[in-house]
């Protein structure tokens, strides 16, 4: 397909222009037999699913990032990995994705094609297929360039049942590496704070990592990817739902220097920064070393470490500071705003 020019309303009209965009660009990039059917819905043999587990996992996320492309990824890689990860942290093997585009007229076709291409690569890396989709085009000013929704289905093997409410006193808390990279990379890439930093989004699929973890410990108590709201928010969910306290050791928290630097400049707390390739696991202490070792064998887990423990309590996250004090790490009321005072 000729990639000169931009997306116009015609590409979302339901007519010939839309069919050409869908057939010659989108479908061609994502190509796979289920998608090729070209019906209003993908049709997946249930027998194939039943062979892999006993429950269907089903999830969705919309992606609205600005800018569309940033160091370490783009909205397309986020859309694939984010949904893959939401399936994976349920213990599921991610299998099939849907993909809904909402495009602001004027988006260069070439940008769109590039994002599609990286979605394809991300899907291949995660071992999933995009089997159904939808494309809408809205007026100039009616959207911010491009939004992507993905929904995903996967299959959860029998016996895997991680849950935000499953943490038990004595469990340990593990993350798979550096915190806050994605949030800092986006702040940086947006450019309106005029900062320059060598920070890349951590955007990555976590399904291989999760598979390795379950292989050594089918009884992972809690498992979540730490996206919007960061580590702090996920741990607050765990603590509240499990009615225990999560106690973190500040010096165990893996935070890169430029991320710390950006936080110091802007008065932000890295514990609330978004990640797109980080998970938090709560595992029985007896399994902790095995899980950690399994994680550290997978690239997405090279920097996995224990950051804290589950203690008796009534649903708080507590940070033991390196300085020797303690403080509550509450869920934030809203977005963290850069501050100067």
């Amino acid at each position: 397909m000729n990639l000169a020019g931009t997306i116009t309303l015609a590409h979302g009209s339901g007519g010939r222009a839309m069919h050409q965009l869908v057939d010659n660009l989108i479908r061609q990039t994502f190509t796979n037999p289920l998608l090729e059917e070209g019906e209003d819905q993908a049709r997946i043999p249930l027998a194939e699913l039943v062979a892999q587990g006993d429950r269907l996992a089903f999830t969705t996320d919309s992606y609205v990032v600005t800018p569309l492309e940033f160091p370490g990824g783009n909205i397309g890689t986020l859309a694939i990995n984010g949904t893959v990860n939401d399936l994976a942290v349920g213990g599921a093997k991610p299998l099939y994705l849907s993909c809904g585009f909402i495009i602001e007229e004027g988006l260069p076709l070439e940008t769109f094609a590039r994002i599609l291409q990286s979605m394809r690569l991300a899907a291949d890396e995660a071992g999933v297929q995009i089997v159904t989709g939808d494309t809408k085009v809205v007026q100039r000013g009616g959207a911010d360039k491009l939004f992507i929704n993905t929904a995903g289905v996967g299959v959860i093997p029998a016996g895997f049942n991680p849950s935000a409410g499953g943490a038990q006193v004595g469990d340990v808390v593990i993350v798979n590496g550096w915190l806050g990279d994605h949030g800092a990379a986006i702040l940086n890439a947006r450019g309106d704070l005029a900062l320059e930093a060598d920070i890349e989004s951590d955007c990555a699929p976590l399904n291989a990592l999760v598979e390795a973890m379950f292989a050594v410990c089918p009884d992972i108590h809690c498992l979540r990817d730490a996206t919007r709201g960061g580590l702090a928010t996920v741990l607050n969910e765990f603590a509240e739902r499990s009615n225990v306290d999560m106690v973190l050791k500040e010096e165990f928290l893996p935070i890169r220097t430029p991320v710390r630097g950006m936080c110091e400049i802007l008065g932000l707390d890295p514990l609330y920064l978004a990640n797109e390739g980080k998970l938090v696991a709560v595992v029985p202490i007896t399994a902790a070393q095995a899980v950690l070792a399994a994680m550290q064998r997978i690239p997405e887990g090279y920097h996995a470490c224990i950051i804290g423990a589950v203690m008796e309590g009534d649903g708080h996250v507590i940070l033991q500071t390196a300085f020797g004090g303690e403080r509550i790490v509450d869920m934030l009321p809203g977005e963290q705003l850069p501050r100067i005072c």
Binding site: L195, A197, P258, G261, E264, R339, I340, C341
Partner: protein, 94 residues
């Protein structure tokens, strides 16, 4: 109030408008250095200097000697403390 962070000037960006690049833990930002430039410290001499950055302005020079002095004092205090602890131990053990 008044979040201020030490950073090191790495580059002069604009001598007319007194803009310099500052490095803060690997993050860089252009800041105005008007407040840290004077006859004794002309702009041209600023690269390598540490400054306190607030709201995009270098607001003060960081006096590295003073910093060292404070740290030394605190370390000394530590030694003093260690001495006291030792004395106490000796007292208790006797």
């Amino acid at each position: 109030m008044c979040l201020g962070i030490p950073g090191q000037i790495t580059e002069l960006v604009d001598l007319e408008f007194l803009v310099a690049k500052v490095d803060i833990g690997g993050v860089k930002r252009d800041v105005i250095i008007t407040c840290v430039v004077d006859d004794e410290h002309p702009a041209e001499s600023c690269v390598g200097d540490w400054v306190l950055v607030h709201a995009g302005f270098a607001m003060s020079r960081l006096d590295e000697e003073e910093a060292a002095r404070t740290l030394a004092l605190l370390a000394e205090l530590g030694d003093m403390q260690a001495e006291i602890d030792l004395m106490r131990q000796v007292e208790t053990s006797t």
